[in-house]
Amino acid sequence: MDIFKEIRQILVELLDVDEKEITTDTYLVRDLCAESIDFLELAVSLNNRFAIEINDDDLFLRNLRLYIQNIPDSQDRLAGLTGRFPFLSTKRIAEILADLDQGPVLKVKDLIAYIEWQTKSKKAA
């Protein structure tokens, strides 16, 4: 199963966009103009397609900025976020931290990471 291709197909159908517009580095909000109603649909579709538990807040990095704000000055932001979003690599979190001022950071590859991580947890259980 190619998770990227599966997610791309879901996004093509939901957002009425061209397959060519979607890579793993595509931003959902900045590039594909996804809105809150689209995230509701996306969560339902991913849950249905991959048969995994989906926590919308985690999957869509919903409270990311709030977590960052609440990390005490004494603690490293990178370390703080790694604990909170265990499905993202340290490299990706560093990338996100550097990208915050440019707008919503969620990318297709974050969805892939979440699905892979959840699938693995499910198997382990």
Binding site: E13, L14, L15, D16, V17, I37, D38, L40, E41, A43, V44, N47, N48
Partner: protein, 403 residues
Amino acid sequence: MSNRVVITGMGIISALGHCPETILRSFKNDQVCFRRSRHDPEIVISPVCGFDVKAYTGRFKNLRYLNPGFQFALAAAVAAVENAGIDKACLDLAGLFAGVGPNLDLEKELVAIKNGQLDDSALNALWMLRFLPNTGASAISQVLGIHGENLTIATACSASLQAIGQAYRKIKHGYLDVAMAGGGDSRLSSGGILAYRKAQALCMVNGTPDTASRPFDESRNGFVPGEGGAFFVLENIAHARQRGAHIYAEICGYSATMDGYAMTAPRPDGKFARLAIQNVLREANILPEQIDYVSAHGTGTQLNDQVEADVIADVFGGRTPYVIGLKSWIGHVSAACGAVELGLNLVLLGNELLPAIRNLKHPCRSDVAFVNKTMAFAAEHVLIENFGFGGQNAALVIRKWKS
């Protein structure tokens, strides 16, 4: 305050075609689209062929929430704006009045139920939008940028004629300068067919599908479900003239009444259907003899057609105007029938054509001037009638525009 109201744009998606030229050709060549339903081979339907909503909207993600009726309405509204050649700026505060029907596509929409538990895994998060009546209007407003006073009207088979009537009134009384009005509907899904078959409202014939829809004929035995949509741009005449708009017709009057008699059957004496017609003639300020032809509701059910024929004979006395029955050409477009039939009438008026009531061999009344042969005919005033389940009665009078 009383303004004259004119129609300056139309978009029609019908079984006879998707543009005035094709529709006219279909009338002239007796080209109809009746066939047996794949859900129920005993039932004849009149589907719209070759329709793709994206040809009108381009990419639009919210199409995922539009049932077929909403899609027809949206496409027709886009086509009407293009046909009217009206600026986006004029639409900004325009009104929007839509006649809609229920989504009866149970097979596609409903989830499996096991031991009282719903299996909702295949449903969209916002699946309910395909059932909410104003979803179609919301989509039209998003695509066309319309933000003014609006209503979604769900009064069964008179819904879209009432939507057009409401838009007319808002402009007439000065609340709006421009309004979009019309509707879209489809009941050709398995659930739609099942609903009207159980109600014993549908035509059951063994012969060729073309002969199924036969309004006002002695042998009629039910309606043939159709689908489609039509929308119109209505304007205050001063607004239309100022922008040099092409004017198709003027709306001269509108009326609606309710039978208060039964859930589906019309009141046998037609008292309030007759009142609707008398009221619309009064608002239009014309005498019955000034109506050149009547575009009848003419469903092809025993009860509707008998009461309607009686009412026409009564209102117009011994010599009725010509009477046509467009459902013999496109079937019954349910909530959208008034809009689609208005659209077809505008095509007919503009081209001075009066189409035969197809399959009419033995008229149910001999003193009503049913048109049984397509003919050239220059009309000025047309009375359009629609009646619906629940005892809904609506009537509209239009006048051909002569520059």
